[in-house]
């Protein structure tokens, strides 16, 4: 399929009126939610075009979230890999990941819309913690749905959310992970729609979420592009990010999508490779690549990383894969654990297991990128994963 011939049409621009990126996206929700999605779309269009809202959002990013985030050059790791590795340090944001960009934007929007309560889903807990943080900051009520399995895997984050004043409700259905937390959050939204904003945590779900969440993360790519030019005098050859739902990847890709020479790479867990192994399907309000069986039943993803444990992917990633603008590759859990340790030992940075996927791919494919500048989005810090990795490494040794 050919790219749009006119260079004036941005690759990562505004979706069509029916919320499509190419053939993907849309708004497949129960009738009850349609007016709420329409209201949200109108409110976001209005706010995003309003300099007052933009200034308020920007002020929060700078004075609360610690933006702009740093760009770090990895001297020792670069030498070891035979390429020039640069990290976009979203791990240094307040709450420890890129998720804060989106929650501050949506919480600000929710307030502007007169909503008093936020509901959110979370996998690893990063988005849940970020949501609880934004709710506390802005004086909003917050309920976070989290799969029962993930509540065990990430018990510290459950406690963090509670400390921040949020209520955490377990999702007990299905695989009791991220997918089921989304189901529960959607059911709760259907039941309590008037005062409630659903603070969706990734570039997924019904229109306008995939577009809106990407716009709130666009700051990652915009900063990184300018920082990279300042640091190296040029654009990177490759931009790499991990992909579950795909929000951190969408954020950094959006800063480089219009530069055809820059290669964009999304890294998926082998057990949740929606783009790599999925076929188009509809779940959680969107048409996108989806891991499903021959009858259309959604399959359960399996990944060492709770944050990437999702059988679908944001619709814009499906579109970017379709038109060949971005590539998506899988890595397995063992490669991820190796990369996690590699970064800790070589650079003194403990990455989130999610971003260790990106490094795992870079490390495996390093020979094909010899001497190139590779920009990796380090989307979160790994403190939350330390106990889990400890038990994995202990069981490897025994």
């Amino acid at each position: 399929m050919a790219l749009a011939p006119s260079s004036s049409v941005p690759v990562m621009g505004t979706p069509s009126d029916d919320g499509r990126f190419g053939r993907f996206g849309g708004r497949f929700v129960p009738e009850t939610l349609v007016p709420a999605c329409q209201e949200l779309e109108a409110a976001f269009r209005d706010a995003w075009g309003d300099p007052t809202f933009r200034a308020e959002y920007d002020h929060l990013l700078r004075t609360y979230a610690n933006r702009p985030s740093l760009l770090s050059e990895c001297t020792r790791l670069s030498e070891q890999l035979g390429l020039r590795l640069i990290l976009k340090r979203e791990d240094l944001n307040h709450t420890g990941s890129h998720k804060i960009n989106n929650v501050l934007g949506q919480a600000l929007l929710a307030k502007r819309m007169g909503k008093t309560k936020l509901i959110a889903e979370t996998g690893a807990g990063q988005h849940g913690v970020a949501s609880a943080t934004a709710a506390a900051l802005m004086g909003l009520e917050c309920v976070v749905y989290m799969g029962e399995v993930d509540m065990v895997r990430q018990s510290l984050n459950v406690f963090r959310m509670k400390l921040l004043g949020a209520e955490v409700r377990p999702a007990m259905s299905g695989s009791r992970t991220l997918k089921d937390a989304v189901n529960e959050a959607m059911r709760a939204w259907v039941s309590d729609i008037a005062d409630t904003h659903y603070l969706l945590g990734s570039v997924m779900g019904p229109h306008p979420y995939p577009w809106m969440v990407r716009e709130f993360h666009r700051v990652i790519g915009d900063e990184a592009r300018e920082q990279c030019r300042e640091m190296t005098g040029a654009d990177p050859d490759v931009v790499v990010a991990c992909v579950g739902g795909g929000s951190n990847a969408a954020g950094i890709f959006s800063g480089f999508a219009e530069l055809p020479a820059v290669r964009l790479v999304g890294v998926e867990p082998a057990g949740g490779a929606a783009v790599g192994r999925g076929v188009p399907g509809v779940v959680h309000g969107m048409l996108s690549y989806l891991m499903q069986d021959e009858f259309g039943q959604v399959q359960e993803a399996e990944s060492v990383s709770a944050g990437l444990d999702y059988p679908g992917v944001g619709p814009e990633h499906s579109h970017l894969a379709d038109i060949g603008r971005a590539e998506y590759h899988p890595v397995n859990d063992d490669e991820v654990i190796d990369a996690f340790q590699l970064m800790a030992r070589t650079e003194g940075i403990i990455p989130a297991l999610e971003c260790a996927h990106a490094l795992a791919w870079i490390s495996r494919e390093r020979a094909t990128m010899k001497g190139q500048t590779v920009l990796m989005n380090l989307s979160g810090r790994g403190d939350k994963d330390v106990a889990q990795v400890q038990s994995i490494l202990d069981s490897r040794m025994s």
Binding site: D18, P30, E31, L33, R187
Partner: protein, 259 residues
């Protein structure tokens, strides 16, 4: 195949309120017997669930029924195959309820054709709103299968006539803000929803979601043309009630709405 809308309009013209009980397809070895028993108990149509892995419009009871059914190896094809000819035999139209991905995966035309070949009169897809319904409604129309659309209390007035125009068979009025499951009383939004729809359409208006007892059914039918009852009946079955016992509960609803 029975024409769903003609059948319901005729029953309504006879002064009868419409009763649509629900069975989770593939739930257990006797689920088709329950379809037949509902017909005997006075159902005007029977709704049959095709289980889906991620049923976002369903509460705990239908979720549990879906899980049990999937664990038995139920697929869309096994449900449709077991229903083949049943509607003709019992003289009552059947309507499947499932989620859009099941239809999307099979292909709109293929799914519609399979329903028609099994004499299944209609389909309800609760996660397919008006704006996205076009391709499915066209394929269903072509196959003579009624694509029932839902109308929710959150819809502004201008939206309801467009839903009613696109819906086939009947209009499914969502009684409340929420998912399927039993409630203590009929939602305050239920009767109002039926009134708003009756004011803009001649198609049968049937209320569902949360209708939990014979009394609530009668109250809803004060304005609506009929009701769907799902969780209240499935809870009995999940708790071990026999086909006869569940059918007896359905018969009480029939009697209540007949007044």
């Amino acid at each position: 195949m029975i024409d769903l809308e003609a059948h319901l309009r005729q029953r309504r013209a006879e002064g009868r309120k419409l009763f649509v009980p629900y069975v989770s397809g593939g739930l257990d070895a006797e689920w088709v017997d329950l379809v037949r028993a509902f017909a005997d108990a006075g159902a005007d149509a029977v709704e049959v669930g095709i289980p889906f892995s991620d049923p976002v419009m369903d509460g705990p009871t239908i979720q549990e029924a879906s899980v049990r059914s999937l664990e038995r190896g139920t697929t869309p094809h096994t449900v449709v195959a077991e229903l083949r000819g049943v509607s003709d035999e019992i003289g009552v139209p059947l309507v499947v309820m499932t989620y859009y991905n099941i239809v999307f995966r099979a292909g709109h035309r293929r799914f519609a054709r399979e329903l028609a070949e099994a004499s299944i009169s209609g389909a309800i897809l609760p996660d397919l709103p008006l704006e996205e319904a076009g391709p499915w409604v066209e394929a269903a129309d072509e196959a003579g299968v009624a694509s029932v659309l839902l109308a929710a209390p959150t819809a502004p007035d201008e939206r309801l006539p467009r839903i009613c125009e696109r819906s086939r068979g009947f209009v499914y009025a969502v009684s409340l803000l929420g998912v399927t499951g039993e409630r203590q009383s009929l939602a305050t939004t239920a009767v109002g929803m039926a009134e708003r729809l009756k004011a803009v359409t001649d198609r049968p208006v049937i209320i569902g979601i949360g209708i939990s007892s014979a009394d609530q059914a009668r109250e809803a039918c004060s304005v609506a043309d009929g009701i769907v009852m799902a969780s209240a009946l499935m809870r009995l079955r999940l708790a071990g009630a026999s086909v006869q016992e569940v059918a007896a509960a359905a018969r009480k609803v029939r009697e209540a709405i007949d007044g």
